[in-house]
């Protein structure tokens, strides 16, 4: 039975008790506890169920590597699944629930899988769910989905807030153990701007637990002094609860700070994502202890030796009354010493090595604790938790020599440096056979923009496991990061001499199938030694493939405890050396970070910036039904008095045709092109001639990419001798400006041309309809008569009191004035138009009416009639393509054989036979079927609307040989119905002579 000891616990404050619940059971802990230590203190050894077999699972670790202790934290809007109990700091009122079981943690139906494990081998899903194919959709997929996933995804909106923080430092030190502290101190004292981050709430890492003495002082005192020194330096910043999550190209690092997880009552962001630009990075990320692979090593009560020691020393928690320690190295003897001091009975230390002659084993023996060498565990006894262990010779096949009763097994298979952050950005590893570990290869560091290494591993993360060596290594790393000899010296420590470990990848060495099939490698995903061996047998040679086939090292812990053991088994099965098999790729983040932190402040209204025209507020107050257009919001229509949106669109269209419509066209792109070579430049940009346009006149133009495809259109106005104003589509304003700049800067850089995007400098309003002129004349100001301002011309002057550029252009087929006023006058001008318009029944109209009006006139719309594969010739726009010009962008590409193919679909108008509306994107059906058995097609609908003017559906589309097939009736697909018949007609449905716009 695990319990709280009467005394001890360097991290807890027994004066501050905290209450929390686990599966709705009230429990008690202390300030400073983790949820893990508090659960153990309350005797809760069983904390979850494994993923595949639903085996009972207990806590095995004390830190970020924990594979088993995963819980749902919180509820409702604060629910978060898969939180590690070992890194969750306890707070008053914490609510946790265990996962992956039904109906309860203690009694779980899914546990039957453990008896079926014979039928659930590696690759089970791939083997089982193959045949017959028809089973996939209705049988296999629902089954897999129902059983997949740990934890429960929250379904309520996250109640917490998150933020991003950007910073730049010379040296970023990741990890606040003694190596990180030493490195930060050395870099700071030598003048670098330093940021030191530590994932836990405490500085100093393992050193105090392991009883290190640094510079003659106990580790705790040295740590406190060093923190005081660091805090005194202005150029050094330090942060606890901040995990270095990922190292990326050129010194970009993400860190994840848990600001208020430990005290959620406070009103502040929950997490903060640090976006760090570091000149140099020191990874002082420590090491993780490896489990040993023996039968029954997954039973609750089997823990890492270091964790058992941590719980005793840091939290005053005993993980059991009678412990057996099993090891292949000297370090685990420290656990025997710690437990002895805490008053727990250590029944034996089982050392797989043939000799245990170091000073630590001697100390343990001196306390009267039994030490057995050459001995391992044949199997752990117990059903839902450890009752005892059966001993055997490590060199044998598992014949039991003796049984010991115990309730804790503390195992140590040696230590693996945490090389994740070193590896994220390409740092390579080397296999240190003497110490049985992968450690950073100093000659193959991740390289930065200058080609030199920018990451330096320090301390245990660099394979330096003893205190003194780690401190010296950290000082060396700081010097390397700063690229100079430092005038400071590393702190020193007396290291206890340790004897080398002996790699033990299977216990006992000759364990047979029965034992191996009960020997776990990956506790979270239920991968056993036999699974990896089976994968190897089935031909999986790549460690990456084996990972995915067996699920070894997948999911939330990414194999922090299982990877090395798993690949050692794989390499043995393949008869290859461990370094030749290699590791799987280490990918960020080091441990999971919250989606909220990734989003930061970018949620809700500030997810992305909203662009507003000067008239936005008016639209908002006058019932605009909004449509997102890029970052803009444009009114789709202005429904009135209980109208539907469709009714409003019809009213707006009719009113523009019969009286006056007002359109906010401010979003249209407006680009000034100016300079002695501006005309020549525009002749290259547009398919038609712009250089010969006279000042005061306007011309519609098409722009193509160099591949020949139509990318934008709009009216160009010549302002003066060397100035043109190019109108672009709303979506094209920025991209066309960039397109112009690209050609000016990178191809014709000797041409004297400036461009300026003045889209937001003007409010532009279209006054459209037969009464438009009368209405504007009523406001006073410039002469707007047909003689003074003919169609396709523009003038500068005054409308009322407003400074206006008036363009007589029409995208509706009606008499139309597009009036640009300075953006600052836009709202006042609009208000004046609305006021004056009352006499003429003027009404605002939205983008949908604009679309209907243009479609009735057969005007194309970029993005409807074009999709990046359409050339102007497809749209019957040959009239807008100059035959005189030697060159323009896209001209040569339009001569390619594919572009001149007479079989290209061409633009036509489409009238349904019954007056109904075609579906957008519907295909014209042709005879026969293609190789895939699908109906052949001969065209498609590009724009389709109900025309209030004509009282019927109208459409445009691209049809094979369309212009030569006038009046032919063809069929179009209709989703959810029979095909629709439509007649091919000309694309201009309304006023084909253009009389109405030219009055």
């Amino acid at each position: 039975m695990s319990k709280r000891l009467a005394a001890g616990g360097r991290l807890i404050d027994r004066a501050i008790p905290l209450d929390f619940t686990f599966n709705n059971k009230r429990m008690h802990g202390y300030e400073g506890d983790t949820l893990g230590s508090a659960l153990l203190a309350n005797g809760q050894v069983l904390v979850g169920r494994s993923f595949k077999y639903h085996r009972p699972r207990g806590i095995i670790a004390s830190g970020a590597e924990e594979p088993n202790g995963l819980v749902n934290l919180g509820s409702g809007r604060t629910l978060e699944p898969n939180q590690r109990v070992t890194t969750t700091e306890l707070f008053e009122g914490l609510r946790a629930e265990s996962q992956n079981h039904w109906p309860s943690l203690e009694f779980d139906i899914g546990a039957i899988n453990t008896h079926l494990s014979r039928f659930l081998p590696a690759g089970f899903y791939y083997k089982m769910f193959m045949w017959p194919p028809v089973f996939w959709k209705y049988v296999y997929e629902p089954f897999i989905r129902a059983s997949a996933g740990l934890g429960r995804a929250p379904n309520a909106r996250d109640a917490d807030t998150y933020e991003h923080f950007n910073t730049t430092v010379d040296v970023l030190v990741i990890g606040g153990g003694i190596a990180g502290l030493q490195a930060a101190k050395a870099a700071g004292e030598n003048g670098a701007r330093v940021l030191l981050v530590e994932q836990t709430a405490h500085w100093g890492g393992r050193a105090p637990v392991d009883g290190a003495v640094i510079g003659g002082k106990p580790a705790d005192a040295w740590i406190e002094d060093t923190i005081t020194d660091l805090e005194a330096m202005d150029n050094v910043h330090i942060r606890t609860r901040t995990m270095g999550a990922g190292v990326y190209d050129h010194g970009y690092v993400l860190a994840h700070e848990r600001i208020s997880d430990h005290d959620p009552r406070e009103d502040r962001p929950r997490h903060r994502l640090w976006r760090i630009r570091a000149g140099q990075v020191i990874t002082a990320t420590g090491a993780i202890e490896r489990p040993l692979s023996f039968a029954g090593n997954d039973l609750p009560g089997v823990m890492l030796a270091s964790a058992v020691r941590d719980y005793a020393v840091n939290y005053g928690v005993s993980t059991g009354d009678r412990a057996v320690i099993v090891t292949n190295n000297d370090d685990a003897y420290r656990t025997a010493l710690a437990l002895h001091e805490a008053g727990t009975t250590v029944k034996a230390v089982l050392d797989a090595r043939t000799q245990a002659a170091g000073r630590l084993p001697d100390k343990v023996r001196a306390l009267g604790i039994r030490v057995e060498t050459g001995t391992g565990i044949a199997k752990v006894k117990g059903v839902a938790r450890v009752d005892g262990v059966a001993l055997c010779a490590q060199s044998g096949n598992g014949s039991v020599t003796e049984e010991l009763s115990c309730d804790t097994v503390a195992m140590s298979g040696g230590w693996s440096p945490v090389v994740h952050l070193w590896s994220h950005c390409g740092g390579k590893l080397l296999w240190d056979a003497d110490r049985a570990m992968f450690r950073p290869d100093p000659d193959k560091a991740p390289t930065g923009a200058d080609g030199a290494g920018f990451v330096h591993a320090a301390g245990a993360a660099n394979g330096e496991m003893s205190t003194g060596a780690a401190l010296a290594d950290a000082h060396r790393a700081a010097a390397a990061a700063m690229g100079k000899k430092l005038r400071t010296k590393a702190s020193t420590a007396e290291d206890e001499e340790e004897m080398p470990l002996e790699p033990v990848w299977l216990m006992p060495q000759g364990a047979g199938d029965a034992l191996r099939s009960k020997t776990w490698l990956d506790f979270q995903n239920d991968v056993k030694v036999t699974d990896v061996q089976l994968a190897a047998q089935e031909g999986y040679e790549s460690v990456e493939h084996t990972k995915r086939y067996t699920t070894l090292g997948m999911a939330t812990d990414q194999g922090k405890t299982s990877n090395i053991n798993g690949l050692a088994i794989l390499s043995k099965s393949l008869g290859a050396d461990i370094p030749n098999v290699g590791t799987t790729t280490f990918r960020p983040p080091y441990t999971p970070i919250s989606m909220g932190a990734i989003a930061g402040e970018a949620r809700g209204k500030i997810f992305q910036p909203l662009r507003r025209t000067p008239l936005h507020d008016w639209h908002d107050r006058n019932g605009a039904h909004w449509e997102p257009v890029g970052h803009w919001r444009r009114p789709y229509a202005f429904p009135r008095d209980g109208e539907t949106v469709e009714q409003a669109v019809s009213r707006e269209v009719k009113n523009a045709r019969e009286a006056v419509g007002l359109l906010d066209a401010s979003t249209l792109g407006k680009i000034i092109v100016k300079g002695p070579d501006a005309g020549r430049f525009l002749d290259m940009m547009y398919t038609n001639m712009m250089s010969n346009l006279a000042p005061g006149k306007c011309r519609y133009g098409l722009m193509c990419s160099e591949n020949g495809f139509l990318i934008d259109d709009g009216v160009v106005a010549r302002i003066d001798d060397d100035t043109w104003l190019c109108h672009t589509t709303t979506g094209g304003a920025d991209s066309i400006h960039a397109h112009m700049e690209e050609w000016l800067q990178t191809e014709w850089w000797d041409w004297k041309v400036f461009t300026a995007n003045v889209t937001e400098q003007y409010a532009q309003i279209a006054v459209v309809g037969p009464e438009a002129r009368a209405m504007l004349e009523g406001m006073g100001g410039m002469d707007l008569s047909a003689e003074a301002l003919p169609f396709m011309q523009w003038r500068e002057g005054k409308i009322g009191d407003f400074d206006a550029h008036v363009f007589r252009i029409s995208f509706s087929g009606e008499l139309s004035f597009e009036i640009a006023v300075p953006a600052s006058q836009g709202r006042a001008f609009w208000d004046a138009l609305i006021k004056e318009g009352a006499i003429y029944d003027a009404m605002p109209y939205g983008t949908e009416a604009l679309h209907v009006l243009r479609a009735e006139k057969g005007f194309i719309m970029i993005g409807d009639e074009t999709d990046g594969t359409v050339i102007p010739q497809d749209l019957g726009l040959n009239w807008a393509i100059s035959k005189k010009k030697e060159d323009f962008l896209g001209k040569r590409a339009q001569e390619r054989s594919h572009m001149t193919d007479p079989g290209r679909w061409k633009l036509v108008g489409l009238e349904t036979v019954d007056g109904s509306v075609l579906q957008d994107g519907a295909y014209a059906i042709a005879d026969g079927r293609n190789a895939n058995g699908q109906r052949n097609t001969q065209g498609r609908v590009t724009s389709t609307y109900y025309s209030p003017t004509l009282g019927r559906g109208i459409a445009m589309g691209l049809v094979l040989n369309g212009p030569d097939r006038m009046d032919e009736v063809i069929s179009f697909t209709r989703i959810g119905g029979e095909p629709q018949k439509a007649r091919i007609v000309g694309p201009v449905f309304y006023d084909p002579e253009g009389e109405k716009q030219n009055v």
Binding site: Y248, D249, H250, G251, Y252, R277, G426, T447, G448, A449, D450, G451, E706, N707, A738, E741, E742, Q745, T746, E747, W749, E886, D887, K891, R892, A893, E895, R896
Partner: protein
């Protein structure tokens, strides 16, 4: 995330300030060019493992285009230079010859 030096405004730019523009030093082939030249111009691109010349635009900054000589494997940046040139400048080629002896890229070496 890359850092590239903008030769126009002198800033070391974060990749988020930049827009990539594909391969550098491409010769335009317009009207009158053969199909082969047009294919080469529009479609054929290098895909080297190692030294590469690229176009970038400081789009969230000064707006200027520039070129970068970069290693596609290690992401080492050998240098950046203004886009108003048809070939890599001598200074960049010298750096390349020091750092990647025997380098070649298209017809340049």
């Amino acid at each position: 995330m890359l850092i590239l030096h903008c030769p126009h405004c002198g800033i070391d730019c974060d990749e988020t300030e930049l827009s990539p523009g594909g391969e550098a030093h491409i010769t335009r082939h317009g009207p009158g060019a053969s199909d082969e030249k047009v294919e080469e111009y529009l479609f054929l691109r290098e895909n080297p493992k190692g030294v590469h010349f690229e176009r970038w635009r400081h789009s969230m900054g000064c707006g200027k285009w520039f070129h970068a000589a970069r290693c596609t494997m290690t992401l080492e940046v050998f240098g950046t230079y203004p886009a108003q040139t048809t070939e890599p400048p001598e200074s960049i080629r010298k750096i390349l010859s020091e750092k990647r002896p025997g380098w070649s890229w298209r017809d340049f070496a």
